[in-house]
Structures are given as structure tokens and as C-alpha cells.
Subunit: 228 residues, 2 copies
DNA sequence: ACCTGAACACCGTTCAAGT
DNA sequence: ACCTGAACACCGTTCAAGT
């Protein structure tokens, strides 16, 4: 009924890498966000806590509250950094291609921290980068000849598809990461119970290993209906 | 930069409703799942913990471990119950309509516990209902004349779009729920910073209040490319 | 001004012990 | 066979106190 259950609960190991010294008064939003991202990179989303953050910076955990009102507020800023990514929004002049590229950017950036993607996507959007991406994409859709109303609908469809795809990839990746942390757990590859589900069985060979190409296929399908 | 931040952290109130008596030896998976669902219904996903579950059933929290190996395992079973929903899979003979109806079912069922949707969608899929839905939808797509390969691609696109849409609705709803639990927090309606983002500003009037219709628009767009 | 430390009210999970 | 209770190793957050 349930999957073999390789639990994400794994060891809650505090990140045990060389902590960077933090002379008095050096704490800042930037330093905190960098350290938070490091903790996530090393130990995954489960390893991140206000206490782990304090420990990493050799500072009392509660010192963080000078700079972020809550853990969730910090998480939201982290989210927006991931949504922004490190590449500029594409603008080659080919609206179709740019739109596609922007969504691929978003996917790649969120999947850079797969254990974090699920955490981040659960939070309500609100960051600057999120809205800038929306504005950019809407502009491209207008450029393809869509009305504001059509552009809005198309963008939401493309965005929700992308978020769902990323979420789906991220949760599988995150589970795999958790498995590898428990070395003895079974490999339990993605293996739907096709027994007695014939149409599912027929689909299994076409589940693509290349999930980036799979993502692109879906974009194709959705963008196929768009003018321009 | 970040939204006004009405935190989901709210009071971690243990569900304080009339607990049902639990004579010795009555504990079962079913009783536990019912109680868990009740806790979620009353207090949201944050209120659910192994300790709250024990308290509700007037049982030591650790007694739950006789029936579920971990909290995550229980969560996965809960997830599959929500994914199954309480309606049978539609089969009117109109494949297009049935496919659409099935995805609407999934959306409605997940949104019945919006605070739970995000939690559930973060977990890797693996329940029976999840795969039965896939099998059913793939069969409908085959019936519309799609090849196994086309059906697989189309189903994944539709599913990921649906999950993304539900996630997006759920996180907004969950934030609203959390706001209402802190009666003094500002209302902070969904309000993108359209200032200096002209294309976003042009889209705002077309963000539909009726999110079920919005969901359907996206299904239209995607299914518009499909044969049959 | 900025950080510390103790404290509060919680977690999930394990395991020896009881009935 | 089934449940309890103590214990372990954690949480986020508040607030008075220190420097």
C-alpha cells in the first residue's frame, strides 16, 4: 500500500563543516542567508533550523531573531533567492524561446536544492523575483499577440505546470537523498505497481529518465495551443 | 521584500474537542487515521503530531508506533486517502469529460484540507489511489486515440498542471487560515506589487476569484492540443 | 546596539518495563 | 499482545539580562 518507506527522517545531523568565525556585530541578513543556504546544501532541508544556523555561525541561536522575525520569514527570503536564480531573465527577441528558457531556469534553480523545493513551494509567494518572473513572462506572451486576459491564463497554466513538475521531481530526488543517507535501505527505484493496472503498465516504458526533456515535452504541449 | 508575514506558526493548540474513549486494545489503523484526519480538520496540518494523536485517543503517544512505523508512513496513508477522495472515478463514456472530471475530483479532494495539501504533495507518491487514478486517466487518453507514448506525456502534463494549481491554491488558503487564527493580523489580500511591473499590472484584473473556473481554463488550454 | 542564556512549551522516536 | 513511561536528542520563540 505504502512505498517501502525510506524515511526522510534520517539522522538530524547538525552540519559539521568548518564553521566560519563570526566576530561580534558581523551578523547580517546576507551572512545568515549564506549560512542557511550552506546548511541546506550540505544536509538538506531537514538539517536547517534556527539552532543549526546559530551553531554554524558560532552565535547564540536567538541572535538570528535580530534580523528575521521568524524562521518562515527567513525561508521566504531563501525561496525568493532560489526563484531568482543566478542567470538574467532571457531576452533574445524570440518570445517563445525566451518564455521556455525562463521556465527552464526556474526549474533548474529550484532543483539545485531538491530537498528545499517542497518546503519552499508550500509557502505563499510574495518575493520580488517571483513577481518579476511573472511580469517578464506576461510581457513575452503579450508580444506573441495574446490579449492581457489570454496572457494571464496562459501564464498561470505554464507556471502551475512548471511548479507541479518541479515538485514532482523534487520529492523523488529528496526521497533518494534520504535513502542514500541510510546506506542500508533498499534502492526502491520508481516502480509503480503496474500489476492489474494495464494502462499504467503500458505507460511505464515511456516514463522518461531525462526529466528535463520530459519537462520540455509538457511545455510543448501547452505552448502548442498558443498563437504566435 | 517579503510579504507582511502572517505566520502559519500560530498557536500550536492541541485539538481540544471531546476526545473519544478508547478502551484497551481498540487501537487500529482505521481509528488512528480517523483521529488524525479530525485533528487536521480542526486544527490544520500544524496541529497534527504523534503526541496530539495520542492525546486525542487518550492513549500514550508511543502506542501509535504499533500501527505505523513513522509519522511519515502515517502521512503517506493519509495522503492516499485524500487522493482517493470519496467519489468513484468517473466513467460516463465521454473520455474527455471523464478525464476532466477526474482531475477536478482530485483538486476538490486535496483542497478539502488545504493546510494538508502542501504537506502531502511534498511526499513521494506511492499509494494505491495515486496509481489507480493514473491508470484510469491513461485509459481515457488511449480511448481518445492517443498512443501509449502520447498518453503518457499528456497525462503527466495534465497531472503536473493539476498538482501545481492545487499547491498554489492550497498555500494561499493555508496562509489565510493561519491569518484568521491570529485575529489581529492584517487581511493582506493577494496583492502583487504591480508597481513598476506593467505587464503584471495588466494581468491583475484577470486573476480570477473563481479558482475552479481558472483551473478549468488551464485544462482547456492543455486538452485543446489533444486529438479526439 | 547587539548578543547571550535561561526558560517555555513543544517535537519524533526508542526501549525497557508493565499488565 | 498491547500499551505505558521515562528518556534522548531535538525544535521555535520570548524575554530579561549582560556587554
Amino acid at each position: 500500500m505504502t512505498a517501502p518507506d525510506e524515511d526522510e527522517d534520517a539522522p538530524r545531523s547538525g552540519a559539521s563543516t568548518p564553521p566560519q568565525r563570526t566576530p561580534r556585530g558581523t551578523l547580517s541578513r546576507e551572512v545568515l542567508l549564506d549560512a542557511a543556504m550552506e546548511i541546506v546544501r550540505i544536509g538538506g532541508a531537514d538539517a536547517f533550523s534556527m539552532r543549526a544556523l546559530g551553531a554554524r555561525l558560532e552565535v547564540d541561536p536567538t541572535a538570528v531573531y535580530r534580523h528575521f522575525r521568524t524562521k518562515n520569514e527567513l525561508l521566504d527570503v531563501l525561496a525568493d533567492i532560489l526563484i531568482a536564480g543566478d542567470e538574467p531573465l532571457p531576452s533574445t527577441g524570440d518570445a517563445r524561446a525566451d518564455l521556455r528558457a525562463s521556465l527552464h531556469q526556474l526549474r533548474r534553480s529550484l532543483l539545485r536544492h531538491p530537498t528545499m523545493a517542497g518546503v519552499i513551494l508550500r509557502r505563499p509567494p510574495g518575493g520580488r523575483a517571483y513577481w518579476e518572473r511573472a511580469n517578464h513572462a506576461l510581457g513575452l506572451l503579450r508580444g506573441m499577440g495574446l490579449s492581457p486576459e489570454q496572457a494571464t491564463s496562459a501564464y498561470q497554466t505554464l507556471l502551475f505546470y512548471s511548479l507541479g513538475h518541479v515538485l514532482s521531481e523534487a520529492r523523488t530526488l529528496a526521497a533518494a537523498v534520504a535513502r542514500d543517507r541510510r546506506p542500508s535501505a533498499p534502492t526502491a527505484t520508481f516502480n509503480p505497481p503496474a500489476h492489474q493496472l494495464p494502462d499504467l503498465a503500458a505507460a511505464v516504458p515511456f516514463l522518461r529518465a531525462d526529466t528535463a526533456a520530459q519537462f520540455d515535452d509538457g511545455l510543448d504541449l501547452i505552448m502548442g495551443s498558443l498563437p504566435g
